[in-house]
Symmetry: C2
Subunit: 334 residues, 2 copies
């Protein structure tokens, strides 16, 4: 699954800026993929791109309309359909990461077929993946892991890709969730793969590469999340990571969605991830800790990170506040 670029970002009738966070993510990380945005009259979000009609976007070279908005229930509303049909008729593919599928809407399917266009439901794997073989493959890999879900693994991975390229490393972000796929244009939604093939899917999207190449693989879930640790385990094994970065949100009072489960302490979490990862790469090591300090005051955040850094002897950063330069510097030594 590879989306054609550049994109027209569809913000639809986003109720607020947060509802358009997928579009905002694409704009933040890859502004060069975006020819403009399309907003319906009721839209309250703005990604600071030129507002283009479908015709103007096609004229400007847009190849894919990306649905960058999440509305309540993940529903594709009737109001959107007219715009999407116009996009298909104008020669654009459509991509979405919603729970509800574009490919389940007969009107869109018929229209895409008629005009030779594609509908990408990036949440759902469009290919069969093999069972993982566990064989050592060339190239190097970094994987972000977390104390919990939604602690900044995607953001950290994207920041590491960008910084690594800036430092002259040969590096590619590898997406494992729908937002990451829409941002970089390819990948696999690991939690939607059939269970037998989780590790095999990751081996496929982060294949053998040149010895100096780094895959920066987006992690999912947490080994300590009772709902999703199976996904995390398969992802870790398939990654054969040389380097791990632990992601953490220090103010969370329990694991996301499961109030009975508290977060693991950092040391326990790192040991468990090393134990799991060492099955497929015995040389794995942590190269940094990424903390989402958005809920802390600046001095609190700095104190907290200094304390972690003293305890673990690793670079500890908030990618948003300080960038990930000090983590990426570790990679040159591996």
């Amino acid at each position: 699954m590879e989306l054609k670029k550049p994109y027209l970002l569809f913000l639809g009738d986003a109720a607020d800026q947060l509802a358009a966070k997928v579009a905002q993510g694409i704009k933040t990380w890859h502004p060069e993929y975006c020819v403009g945005q399309f907003r319906l009259p009721a839209c309250n979000a703005d990604c600071d791109l030129e507002d283009l009609s479908i015709a103007a976007a096609a004229q400007a070279g847009a190849k894919t309309l990306v649905i960058g908005v999440a509305n309540r229930g993940g529903i594709i509303s009737d109001e959107w359909i007219g715009v999407l049909v116009e996009a298909l008729e104008s020669g654009l593919d459509i991509a979405a990461g919603l729970h509800n599928k574009l490919n389940d809407i007969p009107e869109l399917v018929a229209c895409a077929q008629k005009h030779g266009r594609q509908l990408f439901d990036v949440r759902y794997p469009s290919q069969a993946y093999p069972v993982a073989n566990g064989k050592k493959r060339a190239g190097k890999r970094l994987l972000t892991v977390g104390t919990d879900c939604s602690v900044g693994k995607m953001y950290t991975s994207l920041a590491i890709e960008k910084e690594a390229q800036k430092q002259g490393l040969n590096a590619d972000f590898r997406a494992t969730g729908q937002t990451g796929i829409l941002i970089c244009g390819e990948g696999v939604s690991a939690d939607c793969v059939v269970a037998d093939f989780i590790a095999g899917a990751i081996e496929t999207i982060a294949p053998a590469n040149s010895d100096d190449h780094w895959d920066i693989i987006e992690g999912q879930g947490s080994l300590f999340h009772p709902s999703f640790a199976g996904v995390t385990t398969g992802l870790i094994h398939g990654s054969q990571a040389d380097a791990l970065v632990l992601c953490h949100e220090p103010t969370r009072t329990h694991m996301r969605g499961v109030p009975d489960y508290s977060l693991p302490d950092i040391e326990t979490c790192m040991q468990a991830n090393l134990a799991t990862a060492s099955l497929t790469n015995p040389k794995v090591k942590f190269v940094g800790i990424s903390v989402n300090t958005s809920q802390l005051e600046e001095q609190q955040a700095l104190d907290y990170m200094a304390q972690l850094e003293a305890e673990f002897g690793l670079p500890v950063v908030d990618p948003f506040r300080q960038g990930v330069g000090r983590i990426v510097e570790q990679l040159a030594e591996l």
Copy 2:
């Protein structure tokens, strides 16, 4: 998914007895479910049941024809179709655990529809499972785990169910693979569930129960298998096991299907399983070790088991040689 009993076992044109091992498993564990067997002229297997025509089986009360044979490539051959159509016309459902689906054969689908019968492809989940909630639920659970795949987890689990019932415990086998499902008539094929729902599927098939009830849950894979550990992890978390039984095959030289991976030592394997299982049940403990000693001479087997028993202080048995009575005795104390 619940199959109607009793069964007619379809042995087809099984090349040898091993090709009919699913049928043999059903006959071994639940002879009371079987009204007879159906064999094509080329069949070289025999489950020691009465050979019945479809008409005679229907007459004898058979409700489901179970395909108990695996042929090369999992293909449903043309030679079988005539028999399967006759079974549907005679009022039987059909169940199979093959890779290829009954529901992908238009002739069978049309015939089943016409006669109001069902086609069960037990390998493929027929319902949506929830995301696991990790909430402690009533009742007790035993889970078999393994040093590797295919080391006797299903056999051990079925033996424990039978022995527990014999010792007066309230116990039910919970199937997590296609053969187990066909043997007991319900369950979920854990490795075929979408990755996000592995643990949730297990919470569903082993739900809250009375305090003195034991679910005996069939394990899958191994935490040390680089292809399948994600399935194993989700299964362990969803089980919330009170008791674990480690299954092992002592002559295996590497993990099944991956020659680069050696088996974990027993102590390491037990510690890893306890660490993973304790997330959803901190009181989990091992109650025994089940060794498949079929590749050892009797004295070798006895010596090996005595050595393990001295080392770990747990009952060590080969279910086939000694039964699992000593393991089940441990459950009364939990």
